[in-house]
Amino acid sequence: MNRDEAKIILLPYRPGLADEADPQIATALALAKRDPELGSWLEEHCARQSALRNAFRGIAVPEGLKEQIISEQAAKEKMPVRRRNFAFAALAAAAVSLVLLAMLALPTRRADDTFTIFRSRMAGVALRGYTMDLITNNPAEIRSYLARNQAPSDYVLPAPLQPVEMVGCAVQRWQGVKVSMLCFRTGKPLPPGQQSDLWLFVVDRASVKSAPETDLPQLAAVNRLVTATWARDGKIYLLETEGNEPAIRPYL
Protein backbone atom coordinates (compact mmCIF):
# COMPACT_ATOMS: atom_id res chain seq x y z
CA MET A 1 0.00 0.00 0.00
CA ASN A 2 1.43 3.37 -0.96
CA ARG A 3 0.56 6.80 0.41
CA ASP A 4 -2.12 7.66 -2.17
CA GLU A 5 -3.80 4.30 -1.77
CA ALA A 6 -3.81 4.82 1.98
CA LYS A 7 -5.49 8.22 1.55
CA ILE A 8 -8.26 6.66 -0.49
CA ILE A 9 -8.76 3.94 2.08
CA LEU A 10 -8.79 6.45 4.92
CA LEU A 11 -11.33 8.72 3.26
CA PRO A 12 -14.28 7.11 5.10
CA TYR A 13 -12.30 6.77 8.34
CA ARG A 14 -14.04 8.29 11.38
CA PRO A 15 -11.92 8.42 14.53
CA GLY A 16 -13.47 6.82 17.56
CA LEU A 17 -15.80 4.55 15.65
CA ALA A 18 -15.52 0.93 14.69
CA ASP A 19 -13.94 1.82 11.35
CA GLU A 20 -10.53 0.95 12.78
CA ALA A 21 -11.58 -2.69 12.88
CA ASP A 22 -11.54 -2.76 9.09
CA PRO A 23 -8.26 -4.50 8.14
CA GLN A 24 -7.54 -2.12 5.24
CA ILE A 25 -8.11 0.93 7.40
CA ALA A 26 -5.99 -0.57 10.17
CA THR A 27 -3.15 -1.09 7.67
CA ALA A 28 -3.50 2.46 6.36
CA LEU A 29 -3.51 3.85 9.91
CA ALA A 30 -0.37 1.90 10.68
CA LEU A 31 1.26 3.38 7.57
CA ALA A 32 0.21 6.88 8.70
CA LYS A 33 2.10 6.33 11.96
CA ARG A 34 5.30 5.60 10.01
CA ASP A 35 4.85 8.19 7.26
CA PRO A 36 4.96 11.80 8.56
CA GLU A 37 3.36 13.26 5.42
CA LEU A 38 0.52 10.77 5.53
CA GLY A 39 0.23 11.34 9.28
CA SER A 40 -0.13 15.06 8.72
CA TRP A 41 -2.76 14.48 6.02
CA LEU A 42 -4.64 12.15 8.38
CA GLU A 43 -4.67 14.77 11.11
CA GLU A 44 -6.22 17.31 8.73
CA HIS A 45 -8.61 14.71 7.42
CA CYS A 46 -9.86 13.86 10.91
CA ALA A 47 -10.46 17.55 11.63
CA ARG A 48 -12.36 17.81 8.35
CA GLN A 49 -14.47 14.76 9.18
CA SER A 50 -15.30 16.25 12.54
CA ALA A 51 -16.27 19.59 10.95
CA LEU A 52 -18.45 17.83 8.40
CA ARG A 53 -20.17 15.80 11.09
CA ASN A 54 -20.86 18.96 13.08
CA ALA A 55 -22.17 20.74 9.99
CA PHE A 56 -24.65 17.94 9.26
CA ARG A 57 -25.77 17.76 12.86
CA GLY A 58 -26.22 21.51 12.93
CA ILE A 59 -29.18 21.36 10.52
CA ALA A 60 -31.86 23.32 12.35
CA VAL A 61 -35.08 21.49 13.11
CA PRO A 62 -38.24 23.62 12.81
CA GLU A 63 -39.80 24.63 16.08
CA GLY A 64 -42.99 22.83 16.88
CA LEU A 65 -42.31 19.81 14.67
CA LYS A 66 -42.17 17.38 17.56
CA GLU A 67 -45.37 18.77 19.09
CA GLN A 68 -47.09 18.66 15.73
CA ILE A 69 -46.24 14.99 15.20
CA ILE A 70 -47.39 14.06 18.69
CA SER A 71 -50.59 16.09 18.64
CA GLU A 72 -51.58 14.77 15.24
CA GLN A 73 -51.18 11.20 16.42
CA ALA A 74 -53.05 11.94 19.64
CA ALA A 75 -55.92 13.40 17.62
CA LYS A 76 -56.13 10.21 15.58
CA GLU A 77 -56.20 8.05 18.69
CA LYS A 78 -59.02 10.10 20.21
CA MET A 79 -61.46 8.75 17.66
CA PRO A 80 -64.70 8.05 19.61
CA VAL A 81 -65.05 4.48 20.82
CA ARG A 82 -68.39 3.96 19.09
CA ARG A 83 -66.94 5.18 15.86
CA ARG A 84 -63.91 3.00 16.39
CA ASN A 85 -66.06 -0.06 17.08
CA PHE A 86 -68.04 0.66 13.98
CA ALA A 87 -64.82 1.05 12.08
CA PHE A 88 -63.56 -2.30 13.38
CA ALA A 89 -66.80 -4.00 12.40
CA ALA A 90 -66.64 -2.44 8.99
CA LEU A 91 -63.00 -3.46 8.69
CA ALA A 92 -63.82 -7.04 9.63
CA ALA A 93 -66.45 -7.15 6.93
CA ALA A 94 -64.14 -5.50 4.47
CA ALA A 95 -61.35 -7.95 5.30
CA VAL A 96 -63.29 -10.80 3.75
CA SER A 97 -63.74 -8.80 0.60
CA LEU A 98 -60.09 -7.84 0.58
CA VAL A 99 -58.99 -11.44 0.83
CA LEU A 100 -61.15 -12.22 -2.14
CA LEU A 101 -59.72 -9.28 -4.03
CA ALA A 102 -56.19 -10.32 -3.14
CA MET A 103 -56.91 -13.77 -4.46
CA LEU A 104 -57.85 -12.14 -7.71
CA ALA A 105 -54.39 -10.55 -7.71
CA LEU A 106 -55.61 -7.03 -7.49
CA PRO A 107 -52.95 -4.55 -6.35
CA THR A 108 -52.92 -4.02 -2.61
CA ARG A 109 -53.51 -0.56 -1.26
CA ARG A 110 -52.19 0.71 2.06
CA ALA A 111 -54.30 2.47 4.67
CA ASP A 112 -54.85 5.95 3.41
CA ASP A 113 -54.54 8.86 5.77
CA THR A 114 -53.41 11.36 3.19
CA PHE A 115 -55.88 14.04 4.22
CA THR A 116 -54.65 13.94 7.80
CA ILE A 117 -51.12 14.42 6.60
CA PHE A 118 -52.19 17.23 4.27
CA ARG A 119 -53.96 19.02 7.11
CA SER A 120 -51.01 18.54 9.38
CA ARG A 121 -48.60 19.80 6.73
CA MET A 122 -50.64 22.95 6.12
CA ALA A 123 -50.93 23.54 9.85
CA GLY A 124 -47.16 23.28 9.96
CA VAL A 125 -46.88 25.94 7.27
CA ALA A 126 -48.93 28.35 9.37
CA LEU A 127 -47.22 27.46 12.63
CA ARG A 128 -43.63 27.37 11.55
CA GLY A 129 -43.71 30.51 9.51
CA TYR A 130 -44.07 31.18 5.79
CA THR A 131 -43.33 33.85 3.26
CA MET A 132 -46.14 35.39 1.29
CA ASP A 133 -45.43 35.40 -2.44
CA LEU A 134 -47.68 38.43 -2.88
CA ILE A 135 -48.56 41.02 -0.27
CA THR A 136 -51.66 42.98 -1.14
CA ASN A 137 -55.11 43.80 0.20
CA ASN A 138 -56.59 43.44 -3.26
CA PRO A 139 -58.52 40.15 -3.60
CA ALA A 140 -58.54 40.41 -7.40
CA GLU A 141 -54.76 40.70 -7.54
CA ILE A 142 -54.47 37.67 -5.30
CA ARG A 143 -56.76 35.63 -7.50
CA SER A 144 -54.89 36.73 -10.59
CA TYR A 145 -51.50 35.90 -9.07
CA LEU A 146 -52.66 32.40 -8.14
CA ALA A 147 -54.09 31.83 -11.60
CA ARG A 148 -50.84 32.93 -13.23
CA ASN A 149 -48.99 30.43 -11.07
CA GLN A 150 -51.34 27.54 -11.88
CA ALA A 151 -52.60 27.33 -8.29
CA PRO A 152 -56.33 27.01 -7.51
CA SER A 153 -57.85 30.45 -8.14
CA ASP A 154 -61.54 29.77 -8.72
CA TYR A 155 -62.23 29.42 -5.01
CA VAL A 156 -65.42 30.54 -3.33
CA LEU A 157 -65.09 32.16 0.07
CA PRO A 158 -67.79 31.51 2.68
CA ALA A 159 -69.91 34.61 3.15
CA PRO A 160 -68.64 35.35 6.70
CA LEU A 161 -65.05 35.23 5.43
CA GLN A 162 -65.54 37.66 2.56
CA PRO A 163 -65.38 40.88 4.64
CA VAL A 164 -62.19 39.78 6.44
CA GLU A 165 -59.15 41.68 5.26
CA MET A 166 -56.90 39.74 2.90
CA VAL A 167 -53.23 40.55 3.23
CA GLY A 168 -51.61 38.30 0.66
CA CYS A 169 -51.10 34.82 -0.65
CA ALA A 170 -48.57 32.11 -1.34
CA VAL A 171 -48.39 28.99 -3.42
CA GLN A 172 -47.57 25.93 -1.35
CA ARG A 173 -46.87 22.45 -2.64
CA TRP A 174 -48.40 19.18 -1.59
CA GLN A 175 -46.91 16.06 -3.14
CA GLY A 176 -46.22 17.89 -6.36
CA VAL A 177 -49.59 19.66 -6.44
CA LYS A 178 -50.02 23.40 -5.98
CA VAL A 179 -52.02 24.65 -3.02
CA SER A 180 -53.30 28.21 -2.79
CA MET A 181 -52.69 29.82 0.57
CA LEU A 182 -54.78 32.93 1.28
CA CYS A 183 -53.71 35.01 4.26
CA PHE A 184 -56.20 37.09 6.24
CA ARG A 185 -55.98 39.51 9.13
CA THR A 186 -58.88 39.28 11.56
CA GLY A 187 -58.08 42.52 13.34
CA LYS A 188 -56.86 40.95 16.56
CA PRO A 189 -53.47 42.18 17.80
CA LEU A 190 -50.70 40.26 16.07
CA PRO A 191 -47.37 39.24 17.57
CA PRO A 192 -44.38 41.17 16.20
CA GLY A 193 -43.41 40.00 12.72
CA GLN A 194 -46.69 38.17 12.08
CA GLN A 195 -48.73 39.54 9.20
CA SER A 196 -51.80 37.37 9.30
CA ASP A 197 -53.74 35.19 11.72
CA LEU A 198 -56.23 33.34 9.56
CA TRP A 199 -55.27 31.16 6.64
CA LEU A 200 -57.27 29.42 3.95
CA PHE A 201 -55.71 26.65 1.90
CA VAL A 202 -57.36 25.53 -1.32
CA VAL A 203 -56.39 22.43 -3.26
CA ASP A 204 -58.00 20.26 -5.90
CA ARG A 205 -59.94 17.54 -4.17
CA ALA A 206 -58.52 14.82 -6.40
CA SER A 207 -55.06 15.51 -4.96
CA VAL A 208 -55.99 14.71 -1.37
CA LYS A 209 -57.18 11.21 -0.74
CA SER A 210 -59.75 10.53 1.98
CA ALA A 211 -60.63 14.22 2.20
CA PRO A 212 -64.08 15.27 3.43
CA GLU A 213 -66.78 15.12 0.79
CA THR A 214 -69.35 17.52 2.16
CA ASP A 215 -69.57 21.29 2.31
CA LEU A 216 -70.32 21.06 6.02
CA PRO A 217 -67.16 22.25 7.78
CA GLN A 218 -65.42 19.61 9.89
CA LEU A 219 -63.43 20.98 12.79
CA ALA A 220 -60.22 19.54 14.19
CA ALA A 221 -57.44 20.73 16.45
CA VAL A 222 -53.92 20.49 15.13
CA ASN A 223 -51.30 21.56 17.62
CA ARG A 224 -52.38 25.03 18.77
CA LEU A 225 -54.51 25.63 15.69
CA VAL A 226 -58.16 24.97 15.10
CA THR A 227 -58.94 23.90 11.55
CA ALA A 228 -62.13 23.65 9.51
CA THR A 229 -62.32 21.61 6.33
CA TRP A 230 -65.02 21.40 3.70
CA ALA A 231 -65.38 20.42 0.08
CA ARG A 232 -67.00 22.40 -2.68
CA ASP A 233 -66.98 22.15 -6.46
CA GLY A 234 -64.07 19.75 -6.63
CA LYS A 235 -61.91 21.63 -4.17
CA ILE A 236 -60.90 21.12 -0.57
CA TYR A 237 -60.90 24.18 1.65
CA LEU A 238 -58.90 24.19 4.86
CA LEU A 239 -59.25 27.19 7.15
CA GLU A 240 -56.87 27.58 10.08
CA THR A 241 -56.41 29.95 12.96
CA GLU A 242 -54.97 29.82 16.45
CA GLY A 243 -57.29 28.91 19.30
CA ASN A 244 -60.29 26.63 19.54
CA GLU A 245 -63.74 26.32 18.01
CA PRO A 246 -65.06 29.80 18.94
CA ALA A 247 -62.06 31.33 17.20
CA ILE A 248 -62.98 29.87 13.80
CA ARG A 249 -66.79 29.68 13.89
CA PRO A 250 -67.35 33.36 12.97
CA TYR A 251 -65.68 32.77 9.59
CA LEU A 252 -67.66 29.69 8.52
Binding site: D4, K7, I8, L11, P12, R14, L17, A18, W41, E44, H45, A47, R48, Q49, S50, A51, L52, R53, A55, F56, R57, G58, I59, V61, P62, L65, K66, Q68, I69, I70, E72, Q73, K76, A111, D113, T116, I117, S120, R121, G124, V125, R128, Q172, R173, Q175
Partner: protein, 171 residues
Protein backbone atom coordinates in the same frame (compact mmCIF):
# COMPACT_ATOMS: atom_id res chain seq x y z
CA UNK B 1 -50.07 0.94 18.76
CA UNK B 2 -49.72 -2.59 19.94
CA UNK B 3 -46.14 -2.45 21.07
CA UNK B 4 -43.51 0.20 21.51
CA UNK B 5 -39.82 -0.29 21.19
CA UNK B 6 -38.24 -1.24 24.48
CA UNK B 7 -41.23 0.07 26.38
CA UNK B 8 -40.96 3.46 24.73
CA UNK B 9 -44.24 5.26 24.13
CA UNK B 10 -44.99 7.27 21.04
CA UNK B 11 -44.05 10.62 22.56
CA UNK B 12 -40.69 9.35 23.74
CA UNK B 13 -40.07 7.72 20.40
CA UNK B 14 -40.76 10.99 18.61
CA UNK B 15 -38.63 12.91 21.10
CA UNK B 16 -35.72 10.52 20.53
CA UNK B 17 -35.74 10.37 16.77
CA UNK B 18 -37.55 13.32 15.21
CA UNK B 19 -34.44 15.49 15.08
CA UNK B 20 -32.06 13.06 13.32
CA UNK B 21 -34.89 11.94 11.05
CA UNK B 22 -35.66 15.52 10.07
CA UNK B 23 -31.96 16.23 9.49
CA UNK B 24 -31.70 13.17 7.26
CA UNK B 25 -34.86 14.19 5.42
CA UNK B 26 -33.58 17.72 4.96
CA UNK B 27 -30.26 16.40 3.67
CA UNK B 28 -32.17 14.48 1.02
CA UNK B 29 -34.92 16.94 0.14
CA UNK B 30 -33.25 20.26 1.02
CA UNK B 31 -36.70 21.66 1.57
CA UNK B 32 -38.15 22.28 5.01
CA UNK B 33 -41.72 21.45 4.13
CA UNK B 34 -40.79 18.19 2.42
CA UNK B 35 -38.47 17.27 5.27
CA UNK B 36 -41.27 17.89 7.80
CA UNK B 37 -43.65 15.79 5.70
CA UNK B 38 -41.20 12.95 5.46
CA UNK B 39 -40.48 13.00 9.19
CA UNK B 40 -44.15 13.05 10.06
CA UNK B 41 -44.98 10.32 7.58
CA UNK B 42 -42.29 8.07 9.02
CA UNK B 43 -43.91 8.36 12.45
CA UNK B 44 -47.41 7.98 11.00
CA UNK B 45 -46.37 4.74 9.38
CA UNK B 46 -44.71 3.63 12.60
CA UNK B 47 -47.95 4.24 14.48
CA UNK B 48 -49.80 2.09 11.99
CA UNK B 49 -47.28 -0.63 11.32
CA UNK B 50 -44.56 -0.40 13.95
CA UNK B 51 -46.04 -3.30 15.89
CA UNK B 52 -44.94 -5.57 13.05
CA UNK B 53 -41.32 -4.96 13.96
CA UNK B 54 -40.15 -7.95 15.98
CA UNK B 55 -36.72 -6.68 16.99
CA UNK B 56 -37.18 -3.62 19.19
CA UNK B 57 -33.52 -2.67 18.79
CA UNK B 58 -34.15 -1.98 15.12
CA UNK B 59 -36.57 0.89 15.64
CA UNK B 60 -34.10 3.56 14.58
CA UNK B 61 -33.12 1.68 11.45
CA UNK B 62 -36.79 1.01 10.70
CA UNK B 63 -37.65 4.69 10.94
CA UNK B 64 -34.76 5.76 8.73
CA UNK B 65 -35.57 3.06 6.19
CA UNK B 66 -39.21 4.10 6.14
CA UNK B 67 -38.32 7.75 5.71
CA UNK B 68 -35.95 6.94 2.89
CA UNK B 69 -38.59 4.85 1.13
CA UNK B 70 -41.08 7.66 1.50
CA UNK B 71 -38.55 10.05 0.01
CA UNK B 72 -38.01 7.78 -2.96
CA UNK B 73 -41.75 7.39 -3.36
CA UNK B 74 -42.25 11.13 -3.14
CA UNK B 75 -39.77 11.72 -5.87
CA UNK B 76 -41.07 8.84 -7.97
CA UNK B 77 -37.63 8.20 -9.17
CA UNK B 78 -37.32 6.25 -12.38
CA UNK B 79 -33.58 6.06 -12.59
CA UNK B 80 -32.01 2.71 -11.95
CA UNK B 81 -28.82 3.15 -10.03
CA UNK B 82 -25.82 1.08 -11.04
CA UNK B 83 -24.20 -0.99 -8.35
CA UNK B 84 -20.48 -0.39 -8.65
CA UNK B 85 -18.25 -2.43 -6.41
CA UNK B 86 -15.43 -0.59 -4.65
CA UNK B 87 -12.74 -2.60 -6.36
CA UNK B 88 -13.89 -1.32 -9.73
CA UNK B 89 -14.18 2.24 -8.56
CA UNK B 90 -10.82 2.60 -6.85
CA UNK B 91 -8.87 3.81 -9.83
CA UNK B 92 -11.30 6.64 -10.47
CA UNK B 93 -11.19 8.06 -6.97
CA UNK B 94 -9.41 11.40 -6.82
CA UNK B 95 -6.93 12.24 -4.11
CA UNK B 96 -8.39 15.41 -2.73
CA UNK B 97 -6.57 18.40 -1.30
CA UNK B 98 -7.23 19.24 2.34
CA UNK B 99 -10.12 21.51 3.20
CA UNK B 100 -9.75 24.05 5.93
CA UNK B 101 -12.10 22.44 8.40
CA UNK B 102 -12.78 25.60 10.33
CA UNK B 103 -14.49 27.28 7.38
CA UNK B 104 -17.10 24.59 6.86
CA UNK B 105 -20.67 25.48 7.76
CA UNK B 106 -23.95 23.66 7.34
CA UNK B 107 -25.12 25.69 4.36
CA UNK B 108 -21.87 25.13 2.52
CA UNK B 109 -21.86 21.42 3.25
CA UNK B 110 -25.49 20.97 2.18
CA UNK B 111 -24.85 22.93 -1.00
CA UNK B 112 -21.98 20.59 -1.78
CA UNK B 113 -24.10 17.56 -0.91
CA UNK B 114 -26.76 18.81 -3.31
CA UNK B 115 -24.23 18.72 -6.12
CA UNK B 116 -23.59 15.02 -5.61
CA UNK B 117 -25.48 12.50 -7.65
CA UNK B 118 -28.59 11.47 -5.70
CA UNK B 119 -27.31 7.94 -5.14
CA UNK B 120 -24.45 9.29 -3.05
CA UNK B 121 -26.47 11.73 -0.95
CA UNK B 122 -28.23 9.22 1.31
CA UNK B 123 -25.13 7.22 2.26
CA UNK B 124 -23.06 10.36 2.86
CA UNK B 125 -25.76 12.00 5.00
CA UNK B 126 -26.17 8.86 7.12
CA UNK B 127 -22.41 8.52 7.39
CA UNK B 128 -22.07 11.91 9.03
CA UNK B 129 -25.43 12.35 10.74
CA UNK B 130 -25.72 9.00 12.42
CA UNK B 131 -22.17 7.70 12.50
CA UNK B 132 -23.87 4.72 10.89
CA UNK B 133 -21.82 1.66 10.05
CA UNK B 134 -21.66 0.36 6.50
CA UNK B 135 -24.03 -2.43 7.48
CA UNK B 136 -26.56 -0.02 8.98
CA UNK B 137 -26.42 2.22 5.91
CA UNK B 138 -26.91 -0.82 3.68
CA UNK B 139 -29.91 -1.88 5.76
CA UNK B 140 -31.48 1.60 5.78
CA UNK B 141 -31.00 2.19 2.07
CA UNK B 142 -31.75 -1.42 1.18
CA UNK B 143 -28.70 -1.85 -1.02
CA UNK B 144 -25.86 -4.39 -0.88
CA UNK B 145 -22.91 -3.72 1.41
CA UNK B 146 -20.49 -3.48 -1.50
CA UNK B 147 -22.68 -0.86 -3.11
CA UNK B 148 -22.71 1.19 0.09
CA UNK B 149 -18.92 1.05 0.21
CA UNK B 150 -18.53 2.14 -3.38
CA UNK B 151 -21.13 4.89 -3.08
CA UNK B 152 -19.56 6.18 0.10
CA UNK B 153 -16.08 6.13 -1.37
CA UNK B 154 -17.18 8.04 -4.43
CA UNK B 155 -19.57 10.31 -2.59
CA UNK B 156 -17.07 11.31 0.09
CA UNK B 157 -14.34 11.89 -2.46
CA UNK B 158 -16.62 14.11 -4.51
CA UNK B 159 -17.93 15.95 -1.45
CA UNK B 160 -14.43 16.71 -0.21
CA UNK B 161 -13.42 17.77 -3.69
CA UNK B 162 -16.36 20.16 -3.94
CA UNK B 163 -15.63 21.64 -0.54
CA UNK B 164 -11.97 22.06 -1.43
CA UNK B 165 -12.93 23.81 -4.68
CA UNK B 166 -15.21 26.22 -2.85
CA UNK B 167 -18.62 27.47 -3.99
CA UNK B 168 -19.23 27.52 -7.74
CA UNK B 169 -18.78 30.91 -9.40
CA UNK B 170 -21.99 32.71 -10.36
CA UNK B 171 -20.77 33.95 -13.73
Amino acid sequence: MARMAEGMDFENLVACYYKPLYQFAFSLARNEAEACDLTQQAFCIWAAKGHQLRDASKVKTWLFTTLHREFLGMRRRLVRFPHIELEHADLELPVVPPVTASRLDGEQVLAALAQLDEVYQGPVALFYLQDASYNEIAEILDVPLGTVKSRLARGLARLHQLLADGPPSKS
